[in-house]
C-alpha cells in the first residue's frame, strides 16, 4: 500500500505537467499495460490494489478510460470493497464511454436484486449517477422495486435516485409515475426516507414551478413535523427548509408549527438552528403582536443566535450576515445582547467589520454610552480598515441617537488629537455628516478641523473639509484663503474634490460677494474651460448662468436649506429585506442579494416575495463600503453635490402637475433606492450630456466673465441643457402629462325620486381645489329655484366651501351646470364605504337626499411626493399587518405611461426599478387629512395584470386607494 501511495505522490508531480499529453501517451503506456494485467489477475487482493491505483490516477486527472472494459470485468464480485471501487470508476467514466457503460447494466440490474440491502442501495445509487441517457431505460424497473424495498436504506437511496433520474430525463420520471411513489414516501415510517423524499420532491418541484408536487397541507405538514423529531440533523434541514415554503392558514396554525419547530433552536448543528430561525421568522409575521406567545418566541430566538457567534470564524461570519438582516427586521430580538457583538482582538477582520455594523444597528439611547466607549477603543487599534470603520461608526451613532451626538463629537475631537492621519480624515468625513444632521450646533469645532487642513490627502476627506468651509464660510474668517489654497492644484484633484470646491467657492461668493469675485471667476473658468470632465463643466455652466442671470435666484438655489439626513440611511430596502428574510441561512443572506441576482436559470430561483435587481446589491452595503460604488458622492449619506442639481431639478419641474412626469429613472437604468438623486444623477448627467458639453466648451467667448456673458451663449446653452434634463427625467413613453382623471358624470339623483329634479355629477380636483360639478336637470313641469346644498358628516370632512351658486331659476326641461367648491375642514364621521358622501339638496319644492361616492384621488394633495429617504423609513416603520395587496387585471399600459397617468391624480412615483422585465414603481400620496399612503406597483412587461401593495398607517383607506388606481389606470 505504501507503494502506491508513493506512486500517487509521484503522479501528482506529473499532474502539473499534464497539459503535455504526448508525455503520457509515450511513457505511461507501460503503466496502463501493467495495470491491465493486474486487473485481470486471479487474485482478489491484487485486483483490488489495481483498481485503487486506477482510481488514484483518476483523481490526479490522468486519463485511465482505456481500462474501462478491464475495470468493468471486476464488477462481478462478492467483495463489497472491490465493488465500491469499481462503481466509483464507473461513475467517473461512464459519461465519456456511454457504449461501454451499457456493458455494466446487467450487473447493475442483478445487483439491484441482491440479498444484501447494501448492494441493492449501492447499485441503485450508482446507476443514478451514471448520467448516460441510454442507461435510464434500464434503470426504471430496478428503481421501481427499490422505491418499495423493505429496507429503509434502499428506499431512501431510491428516493434520491428519482431526483437524479429527473435531472437526466424528466419526462420519463413523469411517465413512469415515480412522482406519485415519491409523494407516498412522505408518509414512510422511516424518517430518513421522508427527509430524502422531501428533498427530492423540493428539487423536482423547483423545475416545475406550477406543479403542485409538494402539496403542503395541514396533513402533510403534520407528517413532516413528526418526522422532524426523529430524523438526522441533515434530514431536519431539508424538512425545515420545506416547511418554510408553507403558508399557514391562520395564526393558530402558525403558532402550532412554531411551537413544534422551537426545540430545533437548541440543536448543536448551526444549519439546523438557522433553518429553524428562518421558519420562525417567517411564521412570526402571522402572529398577532399582542399574543403572549409572540413575546415568548422573541425571547427564544436570541440565545441560539448568540450561540452561533461562538462557532468557527467562517460560521460566525455567515451568522453575522444573517443577524444583520434579522436585526433590521426585528431589532427587539437582540436589543439586550449588544455585548456579544463587541469585537475580540483575534476576530478576523471580516468578522470585526460585520460586528461593528450590527453594533450600530443595535445602538440606542439605552446602550449608547457602552457602545461609544467600545468604539473609542477600536479607533486606536492597529488595523487601518477596522479603525476607519470604527470612526465612521461613531459618526453614525451621533446621527442615529440624538442624545449621544455631543459625546460623539467630543470623542471624535479626541481622536483628531491623536493626529493619526487616517483617523483624522475619517473623523472629518463623519463630522460633516453630523453638521448636516444637527445644523448650527457643533460649529464651534470648525476651528479645530481647520488646523488639520494640511494633513488631508484623501479625496473624500478633502471634499468633506471643503464642504464644511463652503457651508460655514461666513464664520470662517479666512475661508477665502483656505479655499484658494486648494484651488492652486485644481487640476490634480479628483473629480469629487473639484466639484466640491466649485460649489464651496460659489457659496462663499454668495455669502461674501465683495472680496471673492476674483476667486469665483477663477474657479468657474477652471471648471468650464480647462476641464475635460463633463460633470464639472456642466455644474460650472449652471452656476455661471445662474449667477449671471439672477444672483438672487442663485442664492436661493445654492444656499437653499438642505434636507436633514436621516439616521437609517444604510438600511436594506424593505421589500428586499423581506425577501432576504425568507432566504435566511442561504447564500442570498450572505451576499445580501436576492437569489435571482446570482443563481442562473430557473432552478432555485423562486421569488419568495419580490424580485429585485442586481443593482440594488449596492445599496445593501453599508455606506462606508458602498461609497466606493457611489464614488462621485462624498458619502452615500448625503450626496451633497447632488443637492444643487436636485434643487435645480425641482425648480425646473415644479409644479409637477403641470410640467411633467416625476423624475423617475430613465427606462433601463437601474438604481439603488438610496441615491437616486445623488450619485446616480451625477453619473447620469455625465453620460448624457457629454456631447453637448463639448460643443459649449468650444465656444470662444466664454472667458468674458459672468457679469456679461456672451449674448449667444445663454440661448444655445439653455436649449441643450434643458433638453438634457428632459432626456433624463422624462420617461421614455408618453412624455405628455395626463390631466387629472375625471370620472364621467353619473346620475346621483334620478328624477323619479326627486319630484322631477335630476342631478348628475362628478368630482374634480383642479389646481388643489376640489369641486363637485353637477348638472341639474328640471324634468318637472314647474320652475325650480332656491337651491341649497348640505353634506352629512363624512370620512374626510368634505363640506361645501360656499353656497351653491344657482342664480337663475331652472325652467322645465332646462338643465344647468353648477360647480361647488369643497373644503375638507367639515365634521368627520367614518362612512361605509369610506368615500361615501351623503348629500341633501333643497329647492323650492322639497328636500332631497342622495348619496354618491367620490374618487379618493380628489383628496390626494399636490405635495404628496415623499422624500426617498422618508419613504424608505416609513415603509419600514409601518407594520406589515397594514400592508394589503391587490391585483389590477387587464391593464395594458407600460409602467411609464401608468406612472404618468397616476401622477395626474397626484400619485407620485418616487422611484422605479426594473428587474427582468418587471418594473417596480414606488409611489406615495398624501390625503387631505395628512394620511400618507405608500404603494409599490409591479408591472410585468407583456402581463396585463399589475400587482399593487399598499402600506398605510390607516389601512382602511387601502381598498379605496386601490379602486382609485384601477379606475385611473383603466381610463
Amino acid at each position: 500500500m505504501q507503494e502506491w501511495a508513493n506512486q500517487l505522490c509521484e503522479n501528482r508531480q506529473f499532474g502539473s505537467k499534464m497539459t503535455d499529453s504526448k508525455y503520457f501517451t509515450t511513457t505511461k503506456k507501460g503503466e496502463i499495460f501493467e495495470l491491465k494485467a493486474e486487473l485481470n489477475s486471479d487474485k482478489k487482493e491484487k485486483k483490488k490494489e489495481a483498481v485503487k491505483k486506477v482510481i488514484a490516477s483518476m483523481t490526479v486527472g490522468k486519463d485511465v478510460s482505456a481500462l474501462f472494459p478491464d475495470v468493468v470485468n471486476c464488477m462481478q464480485t462478492d467483495n463489497l470493497e472491490l465493488k465500491k471501487l469499481v462503481y466509483l470508476y464507473l461513475m467517473n467514466y461512464a459519461k465519456s464511454q456511454p457504449d461501454m457503460a451499457i456493458m455494466a447494466v446487467n450487473t447493475f440490474v442483478k445487483d439491484c436484486e441482491d440479498l444484501n440491502p447494501l448492494i441493492r442501495a449501492l447499485a441503485v445509487r450508482t446507476m443514478g449517477c451514471i448520467r448516460v441517457d441510454k442507461i435510464t431505460e434500464y434503470l426504471c424497473e430496478p428503481l421501481r422495486k427499490c422505491l418499495k424495498d423493505e429496507d429503509p436504506y434502499v428506499r431512501k437511496t431510491a428516493a434520491v435516485c428519482v431526483a437524479k433520474l429527473h435531472d437526466i430525463n424528466a419526462q420519463l420520471v413523469e411517465d413512469q409515475g415515480f412522482l406519485d411513489t415519491l409523494k407516498d414516501l412522505i408518509s414512510d415510517s422511516n424518517p430518513m426516507v421522508v427527509a430524502n423524499a422531501v428533498a427530492a420532491l423540493s428539487e423536482i418541484a423547483e423545475s416545475h414551478p406550477n406543479s403542485n408536487l409538494l402539496d403542503l397541507n395541514p396533513q402533510t405538514i403534520n407528517k413532516l413535523l413528526t418526522a422532524l423529531n426523529e430524523c438526522t440533523e441533515w434530514g431536519q434541514i431539508f424538512i425545515l427548509d420545506c416547511l418554510a415554503n408553507y403558508s399557514p392558514r391562520d395564526d393558530r396554525e402558525s403558532q402550532s408549527i412554531c411551537e413544534r419547530v422551537t426545540p430545533r433552536l437548541s440543536h448543536a448543528n448551526s444549519a439546523v438552528v438557522l433553518s429553524a430561525v428562518k421558519v420562525l421568522m417567517k411564521f412570526m409575521e402571522m402572529l398577532p403582536k399582542d399574543l403572549d406567545y409572540y413575546g415568548t418566541l422573541l425571547k427564544k430566538l436570541a440565545p441560539p443566535l448568540v450561540t452561533l457567534l461562538s462557532a468557527e470564524p467562517e460560521l460566525q461570519y455567515v451568522a453575522l450576515r444573517n443577524i444583520n438582516l434579522i436585526v433590521q427586521r426585528r431589532p427587539e430580538i437582540l436589543k439586550h445582547e449588544m455585548k456579544v457583538f463587541f469585537v475580540k482582538y483575534n476576530d478576523p477582520i471580516y468578522v470585526k467589520l460585520e460586528k461593528l455594523d450590527i453594533m450600530i444597528r443595535l445602538a440606542s439611547q439605552a446602550n449608547i454610552a457602552q457602545v461609544l466607549a467600545e468604539l473609542k477603543e477600536y479607533a486606536t487599534e492597529v488595523d487601518v480598515d477596522f479603525v476607519r470603520k470604527a470612526v465612521r461608526a461613531i459618526g453614525r451613532c451621533a446621527i442615529k441617537v440624538e442624545q449621544s451626538a455631543e459625546r460623539c463629537v467630543s470623542t471624535l475631537l479626541d481622536l483628531i488629537q491623536t493626529k493619526v492621519n487616517y483617523v483624522v480624515q475619517e473623523a472629518i468625513v463623519v463630522i460633516k455628516d453630523i453638521f448636516r444632521k444637527y445644523p448650527n450646533k457643533y460649529e464651534s469645532v470648525i476651528a479645530t478641523l481647520c488646523e488639520h487642513l494640511e494633513s488631508l490627502d484623501e479625496p473624500e476627506a478633502r471634499a468633506a473639509m471643503i464642504w464644511i468651509v463652503g457651508e460655514y464660510a461666513e464664520r470662517i474668517d479666512n475661508a477665502d484663503e483656505l479655499l484658494e489654497s486648494f484651488l492652486e492644484g485644481f487640476h490634480d484633484e479628483s473629480t469629487q474634490v473639484q466639484l466640491q470646491l466649485l460649489t464651496a467657492i460659489v457659496k462663499l461668493f454668495l455669502k461674501k460677494p465683495t472680496e471673492t469675485q476674483e476667486l469665483v471667476q477663477q474657479v468657474l473658468s477652471l471648471a468650464t474651460q480647462d476641464s475635460d470632465n463633463p460633470d464639472l463643466r456642466d455644474r460650472g455652466y449652471i452656476y455661471w448662468r445662474l449667477l449671471s442671470t439672477d444672483p438672487v435666484a442663485a442664492k436661493e438655489v445654492v444656499l437653499a436649506e438642505k434636507p436633514l439626513i436621516s439616521e437609517e440611511t444604510d438600511l436594506i430596502e424593505p421589500t428586499l429585506l423581506e425577501e432576504l428574510i425568507c432566504h435566511i441561512g442561504t447564500l442570498a443572506s450572505v451576499y445580501h442579494k436576492p437569489p435571482s441576482a446570482f443563481v442562473e436559470g430557473s432552478r432555485g430561483v423562486q421569488h419568495k416575495r419580490l424580485t429585485s435587481s442586481a443593482g440594488s446589491g449596492e445599496s445593501v452595503e453599508s455606506p462606508d463600503t458602498g461609497s466606493a460604488a457611489v464614488s462621485e458622492a462624498p458619502t452615500a449619506v448625503i450626496p451633497s453635490q447632488g443637492d444643487l442639481l436636485g434643487d435645480l431639478l425641482n425648480l425646473d419641474l415644479t409644479p409637477p402637475t403641470s410640467t411633467g412626469p416625476p423624475p423617475a429613472a430613465a427606462p433601463g437604468m437601474q438604481m439603488g433606492a438610496m441615491d437616486l438623486l445623488g450619485g446616480g444623477l451625477d453619473s447620469l448627467m455625465g453620460d448624457e450630456s457629454e456631447p453637448l458639453g463639448g460643443d459649449i466648451g468650444g465656444s470662444p467667448a466664454m472667458g468674458a466673465g459672468f457679469g456679461a456673458p456672451p449674448a449667444a451663449m445663454p440661448a444655445s446653452f439653455n436649449a441643450p441643457i434643458s433638453g438634457g434634463l428632459d432626456d433624463l427625467f422624462d420617461l421614455g413613453g408618453g412624455g405628455m402629462t395626463m390631466g387629472t382623471y375625471i370620472p364621467p358624470k353619473a346620475v346621483w339623483l334620478p328624477a323619479m325620486k326627486a319630484k322631477g329634479l335630476e342631478i348628475s355629477g362628478t368630482f374634480v380636483r383642479r389646481s388643489g381645489v376640489i369641486q363637485m360639478e353637477m348638472t341639474l336637470n328640471n324634468k318637472a313641469m314647474s320652475v325650480m329655484s332656491d337651491f341649497a346644498i348640505q353634506f352629512n358628516r363624512n370620512s374626510f370632512g368634505l363640506a361645501p366651501a360656499g353656497p351653491l351658486q344657482i342664480l337663475t331659476p331652472i325652467s322645465p326641461n332646462q338643465s344647468i351646470e353648477a360647480a361647488l367648491p369643497l373644503s375638507t375642514v367639515g365634521p368627520v364621521m367614518k362612512m361605509e364605504p369610506l368615500n361615501n358622501l351623503q348629500v341633501a339638496v333643497k329647492n323650492n319644492i322639497d328636500v332631497f337626499y342622495f348619496s354618491c361616492q367620490y374618487p379618493i384621488s380628489m383628496l390626494f394633495l399636490e405635495d404628496g411626493k415623499m422624500e426617498r429617504q422618508v419613504f424608505l423609513a416609513t415603509w419600514k416603520d409601518i407594520p406589515n399587518e397594514n400592508e394589503s395587496q391587490f391585483q389590477i387585471k387587464d391593464c395594458h399600459l407600460n409602467s411609464d405611461a401608468a406612472s404618468n397617468k397616476l401622477q395626474g391624480s397626484n400619485i407620485f412615483t418616487i422611484a422605479k426599478r426594473t428587474v427582468e422585465g418587471q418594473d417596480m414603481l414606488y409611489q406615495s400620496m398624501k390625503l387631505t387629512n395628512g394620511i400618507w399612503v405608500l404603494a409599490e406597483l409591479r408591472v410585468q412587461a407583456g402581463n396585463p395584470n399589475y400587482t399593487i401593495s399598499l402600506k398605510c398607517r390607516a389601512p382602511e383607506v387601502s381598498q379605496c386607494v386601490f379602486q382609485n388606481y384601477e379606475t385611473v389606470l383603466k381610463n
Binding site: E81, A268, P303, V318, Y345, P348, Y350, E600
Partner: protein, 441 residues
C-alpha cells in the same frame, strides 16, 4: 446542496475530487485556488462565486476543504458539513494531514459516497457509517501512546503516567478493533474565555464558551454516563443547591445524548460513537463565578528624556494551587518606536519589541496563582507626543489554564457499561484557553 467537493493541499494540489451532480467541470479546482490566493486580507473568504458557481470552504489540518454549489443553498449546512467531514476523516484516518488524506483516498471516497448522495448530506454519524464502510485506514506512522515528544495542550507540566499526552487521542477509530489497541475513552472539558477589563479595572465583558468532548476507542461500550456537578444550573433565574452553583446561560447537546437523568441529577447518558464527538456545548456570559484570572496595574508616562515609560504589574488571581502556562502578553506601542530597554521581575520571563507588529511581546512560561509579576519597559520613541500615549494598549493575553475550568464545571463521575476490565482507560481532562483576553490601559 453540494455540487462538487474537493480537498486541496495548501499548495493547491488536488487530493480528493468528487462530483455529485455533474453540474460543473473539474477545472474549477484551479479557479478556486487562484481565487483563494488572490484574496485580500479584509475580504471574507467564506463564500466566493465564479459565474453561477459558489465556493464554500474551510481550512482544516492545513488543507482546503471546498464544496461548490450552483443554487441558493445554505452555507451553514455546507460549512458545518465540511467541518464534520474533516473530523470524520480525522477519526477514520487517525490524523488530518496531507499524507493521511493521500494514503486513504479510497477510504475517503467511500466515506463521501455514503455521506452525500446527489449533493444531499445523508448521515455523518460514525455509528451509522460503520455499517457501510469497508476500506481499512492506512496509518502514516504506527501509533504509539508513548510518543511524548510533542507535548501540547494537556499535561504540559507533568509528564507522569497519570496524564495522557495530547497525542493520545489521534489515531484511526477502526484500527482499535483489529490491532488490539487499548480501549480507552477521553472526556475533555475545554473552555475558552474572552474577557475585556476596562482601564479602570472594571470587568466589562466576560464570556466563557465551553464544550465537553468525548473521544471513544471502546468498541464494546454500549452506554456511558457522565455526571456533572449537581449544582449545575442553566439560565439566569434557575439556581440549584446551596451557594457555589455552577451556572451557565445556554446549553446544547449532541442529539445522541439522552437527558432523562439530566434534570434530576445532572447526568448525561449516551452511547458513544467511535471517534470524537462534542457531547455538550455551553456558554456563560457577563458573570464569572470567580475573579478574572489576570489583572493589570499599568503606569504609562513620558519620562524627562522623552522616552515612553511603561511600568506594568500583572497579578494572577487564580487559586494558589493552579497556574497559567505559556502566557504571552502583547502590548501595542506608539508608532515610530525604535528600541526598548527592560527590567523584568524574574529571570524566566522574556520580552521583546516587535517592530513589525508595533508591539511588545512579554512571555511568561509559568504564572502561579496568587502571585504578581512586574515589568518596566522604556521605549525609545522619537517625537513622542502626549497623544501618542493613547496608542499604548490594550494588552492582549494568551494563556492556558491546565486542569481548570473557569466556569467550575466538573465531571463527577464517568461510568461505562458494560463494566470495562483493566485500569486507566478513562481519562477526564480539563483545560481553559484564552480566546480573547483584553486588558485596556
Amino acid at each position: 446542496m453540494i455540487s462538487q467537493l474537493f480537498i486541496l493541499s495548501s499548495k493547491g494540489d488536488n487530493l480528493i475530487y468528487k462530483d455529485f451532480r455533474g453540474e460543473a467541470g473539474s477545472d474549477v479546482i484551479n479557479v478556486f485556488y487562484e481565487k483563494v490566493m488572490a484574496l485580500p486580507g479584509d475580504q471574507p473568504p467564506v463564500v466566493m462565486n465564479h459565474g453561477d458557481l459558489h465556493f464554500v470552504h474551510v481550512r482544516q489540518g492545513g488543507l482546503y476543504w471546498v464544496a461548490t454549489t450552483t443554487v441558493d443553498s445554505s452555507p451553514f449546512s455546507i460549512i458545518e458539513f465540511l467541518n464534520r467531514l474533516a473530523s470524520l476523516v480525522k477519526d477514520y484516518c487517525g490524523a488530518l494531514t496531507e499524507k493521511a488524506v493521500q494514503m486513504n483516498f479510497a477510504l475517503i471516497y467511500e466515506l463521501l459516497d455514503e455521506v452525500v448522495d446527489y449533493g444531499y448530506v445523508q448521515s455523518m454519524s460514525s455509528d451509522v457509517l460503520k455499517n457501510f464502510i469497508q476500506t481499512e485506514a492506512v496509518s502514516p506512522r504506527p501509533f504509539s501512546l508513548f510518543q511524548l515528544s510533542n507535548v501540547g495542550l494537556f499535561g504540559a507540566e507533568t509528564q507522569q503516567s497519570k496524564v495522557a499526552p495530547s497525542s493520545a487521542a489521534s489515531r484511526p477509530i477502526q484500527s482499535s478493533r483489529e490491532q488490539g489497541g487499548k480501549s480507552e475513552i477521553f472526556v475533555d472539558v475545554i473552555e475558552r474565555m474572552s474577557v475585556v477589563i476596562g482601564s479602570n479595572g472594571v470587568l466589562m465583558k466576560a464570556d466563557v464558551e465551553g464544550e465537553i468532548k468525548v473521544k471513544c476507542y471502546m468498541p464494546n461500550c454500549s452506554e456511558m454516563r457522565i455526571g456533572l456537578n449537581e449544582e449545575f444550573s442553566i439560565g439566569k433565574s434557575q439556581l440549584r443547591g446551596y451557594g457555589a452553583a455552577v451556572r451557565v446561560d445556554e446549553v446544547s447537546f449532541h442529539q445522541a445524548v439522552k437527558l432523562d437523568e439530566f434534570d434530576s441529577s445532572r447526568i448525561l447518558r449516551l452511547s458513544p460513537s467511535q471517534g470524537e464527538q462534542t457531547v455538550m456545548q455551553y456558554q456563560l456570559s457577563d458573570v464569572l463565578p470567580s475573579a478574572p484570572p489576570f489583572r493589570l496595574f499599568p503606569t504609562i508616562e513620558r519620562d524627562s528624556g522623552g522616552k515612553l515609560l511603561m511600568y506594568l504589574k500583572l497579578r494572577c488571581d487564580l487559586p494558589p494551587k493552579s497556574a497559567a502556562i505559556n502566557l504571552c502578553a502583547s502590548i501595542p506601542v506608539p508608532k515610530g518606536s525604535v528600541s526598548m530597554s527592560l527590567e523584568l521581575s524574574s529571570p524566566d520571563q522574556s520580552a521583546e519589541l516587535k517592530l513589525q507588529s508595533r508591539s511588545i511581546e512579554w512571555t511568561i512560561p509559568r504564572f502561579p496563582g496568587g502571585t504578581q509579576l512586574s515589568a518596566l519597559f522604556k521605549v525609545e520613541v522619537p517625537g513622542l507626543s502626549p497623544s501618542s500615549l493613547m496608542e499604548v494598549g490594550p494588552m492582549v493575553l494568551n494563556f492556558e489554564l491546565p486542569k481548570l475550568t473557569v466556569s467550575g464545571l466538573q465531571v463527577r463521575f464517568l461510568r461505562l457499561s458494560p463494566v470495562q476490565p483493566g485500569p486507566a482507560q478513562r481519562w477526564v481532562r480539563y483545560v481553559t484557553h484564552s480566546d480573547s483576553y483584553i486588558l485596556r490601559i
